[in-house]
Symmetry: C2
Subunit: 84 residues, 2 copies
Amino acid sequence: MSWITVMGFVAGTCTTAAFLPQVAKMFLTKKTQDISLFMYIILATGVLLWTIYGFINEDIPLLLANGITLVFVCSILVLKLRHG
Amino acid sequence: MSWITVMGFVAGTCTTAAFLPQVAKMFLTKKTQDISLFMYIILATGVLLWTIYGFINEDIPLLLANGITLVFVCSILVLKLRHG
């Protein structure tokens, strides 16, 4: 595997894992007022489309990274809608 | 252009534009307490790596989408560091 491919994997891991601290923070504090609801609605739409795009193109890394990100982004969306 | 390519462009536009409402909200309210600093540090790292990856692979859509997203994510990071 080339170092460019490795860089792609590291990049994908970062942009997916990044949402976990936000999920944890919202879950523990139940404070979500400063979070933009609009951001997560648009983001969930985009990540869902990337997931479908990855599925159609049989692009496993793209499908996997976006599928997992979608779970985190939807969790943030649910916590935002619950706690306002 | 196939509808799958169009879907990719729509997906990229969504995952980039999504950060704008959060930048605007933070800029206007100056309230950033519920935002996870750790999320945006990891995300900025990941998006920077995607930008370099797009540059090396001469993948213009990937380079453009991540380059613009990087500006938004760094803006959120600066606002978070400024307002706590």
